[in-house]
């Protein structure tokens, strides 16, 4: 873990001193604002309200508005992590200091997670607005944000790995978007395939179902284990890649 703290600070600095983080946050907030506006309109016209299909459920994964930005914005957050250091050559000065590869990888991943969560922070305002119009169960809000964290962690970890695989930011962006989209579509198999092991697998992998459960306050440990595995595996691969650059 040696080197974690200075690298973490520098990565966060790089996000917020270059306009990247602000552009992404702006795009994301604009998108979620539109999402929220459409939800408010739709719920205002609804005649019947159901307990487990309220606005919180709709906002956190009830429709495709939740997933679409993640497929693009998570890779955009992570694309520069390693690709830029390798393009500019700073990876050489970085890795010749007494830092551990694990420290480097975790510092970069954590900084990207902080940027990702900073992107979600403004959405808390929508919950406050919803609270004015009706009752909010804060525990359900909590599990919803747990879903945001879990899904984000695996996408950010995957993006971190792709940024180490690809030498260019653009290739890293495209690769991670494709893989994230692939995972997302695989999950949709749950609604398409016939009964059988394939459908079971798809249901297990489905972020849609995961968010559906969490936004209703259901915490299934299998989902969390899956999130954890899908986060740790890419980070492990990234760590091996960094070691390979050092000794290749």
């Amino acid at each position: 873990m040696r080197g974690f703290w200075p690298i973490f600070k520098r990565e966060l600095f790089a996000y917020f001193v270059t306009p990247l983080a602000f552009v992404l946050i702006l795009a994301f907030v604009f998108w979620q604002g539109l999402h929220f506006y459409l939800l408010v309109r739709s719920f205002a016209q609804a005649t019947e309200a159901s307990i487990d299909q309220g606005p919180v459920q709709a906002f956190f994964g009830g429709d495709v508005f939740y997933y679409l930005p993640l497929i693009l914005i998570c890779p955009a957050i992570t694309m520069r992590l390693f690709a830029e250091e390798r393009r500019s050559g700073t990876i050489e000065t970085l890795l010749t200091t007494p830092v551990s590869s694990v420290g480097v990888v975790l510092a970069k991943f954590t900084a990207a997670m902080v940027a990702y969560l900073a992107m979600w922070a403004p959405t808390l305002l929508y919950i406050v607005i919803m609270k004015r119009a009706g009752d909010i169960d804060w525990r359900v809000v909590g599990t919803s944000y747990l879903g945001v964290l879990g899904v984000g962690a695996q996408y950010i970890a995957l993006g971190t790995m792709m940024s180490a695989v690809a030498r260019s930011q653009l290739v890293a962006l495209i690769l991670s978007s494709i893989v994230i989209l692939g995972f997302f579509l695989l999950g949709l198999g749950e609604f398409v395939l016939d009964e059988g092991p394939a459908r079971e697998l798809c249901a297990y992998m489905s972020v849609w179902s995961q968010m559906g459960e969490l936004s209703k306050g259901i915490v299934d440990s299998r989902r969390l284990v899956l999130d954890g595995s899908l986060t740790l595996f890419p980070l492990f691969v990234t760590n091996r890649l960094v070691d390979a650059w050092r000794w290749g």
Binding site: R2, T90, E92
Partner: protein
């Protein structure tokens, strides 16, 4: 006493091509050593293995007795490294960057401000401390890289082409700085610019095509390898006289007005050289040529280098 830098039978192969082939050398504590070779000789590859950025196919490298593979953190902690291209983060200010680097290298919080100040003083970049790195000229970037190498006050400095892209004044400053670092610090600097080695290094290691071809003091190498020169300035028809003296060989002549500048090669042996000079002067006087000056020419390392690394001489001079 263990050597500050020790490289033992280092080999790096890419497929069948050996970028570094069985290179061994040592650098004692406090020594300033030049690592010399033409582009593509394997200098950067060797240095990268030494600083632990590249794995060797075989062989060992140690910094202050710490093996760079078995004990990388200890080796890297003792080290200040400046890579050839001097990669920097363009979005940071110079001071921010050096603070970050100092923290990475384990300089404690309390010591960091003074460490950064000292490094900026040494590299003479105080005036750009608050400038964004992306706005710096090549020469300044180079010096920021140097400050980075110095910031943790490491015992061993490995500098890959430290003066590339600097103007003559900056080059002189950096050479003086490197010289002054010797004694307390051990410096290994690579270059393909020979005057650099002559100006700042006590010893030189020459590498070509991945192999070590020579090692010694810059002066020693010069005396060792090129036949001494004689620089003669004359007026008149000199050709016949020079041709009569078998011991000297005409290398070059250039005309400046009615004066001729001649460069002649003389025998390696000192007595023979003296005799040759006598004979030459005699012959010139006999022909009525007016001699304005006869001086012993100093072979530059540039010539040594060409001699050492040209194909046919490599084997014979290898140490």
């Amino acid at each position: 006493m263990t050597a500050a830098i020790s490289v033992e039978k280092l080999t790096k192969r890419y497929g069948v091509h050996a970028a570094v082939d069985d290179v061994s050398f040592e650098v004692a504590r406090g020594e300033v050593v030049g690592f010399l070779g033409p582009n593509g000789a394997g200098k950067s590859t060797t240095l990268r293995i030494l600083v632990g950025f590249l794995g060797a196919t075989s062989g060992r490298a140690r910094i202050e007795g710490h093996d760079v593979v078995d004990d990388p953190d200890a080796a890297r902690s003792a080290l200040g490294y400046m890579p050839e291209a001097v990669p920097l983060y363009p979005e940071m200010r110079v001071r921010e960057y050096l603070r970050f680097r100092a923290e990475l290298k384990g300089v404690g919080r309390a010591a960091r401000v003074s460490a950064v100040g000292r490094a900026m003083d040494l590299a003479r970049i105080k005036d750009v401390a608050d400038t964004l790195i992306e706005h710096l000229s090549k020469g300044y970037r180079q010096r920021v890289g140097l400050a980075d190498a110095l910031v943790s006050d490491p015992r061993v400095l490995v500098l890959d082409e430290p003066t590339a892209g600097m103007d003559p004044n900056q080059i002189r400053e950096v050479r003086d700085l490197i010289k002054s670092l010797g004694g307390e610090h051990t410096v290994l600097l690579s270059t393909h610019i020979l005057p650099e080695v002559e100006a700042s290094c006590a010893r030189v290691v020459v590498i070509d095509k991945g192999r070590l071809v020579a090692e010694g003091k810059p002066g020693e190498l010069a005396r060792l390898r090129t036949p001494p020169r004689l620089e003669v300035i004359v007026r008149g028809t000199w050709k016949a006289a020079v041709a009569r003296v078998a011991e000297v060989k005409l290398l070059d002549s250039r005309t400046e007005g009615d004066v001729e500048h001649l460069t002649l090669e003389t025998p390696m042996d000192e007595d023979d050289r003296a005799t040759a000079a006598e004979k030459l002067v005699e012959a010139l006087v006999a022909d009525g040529v007016r001699i304005r000056s006869v001086a012993a020419g100093k072979a530059t390392l540039e010539e040594v280098f060409t001699a050492l690394t040209s194909e046919e001489k490599v084997e014979e001079v290898a140490t």
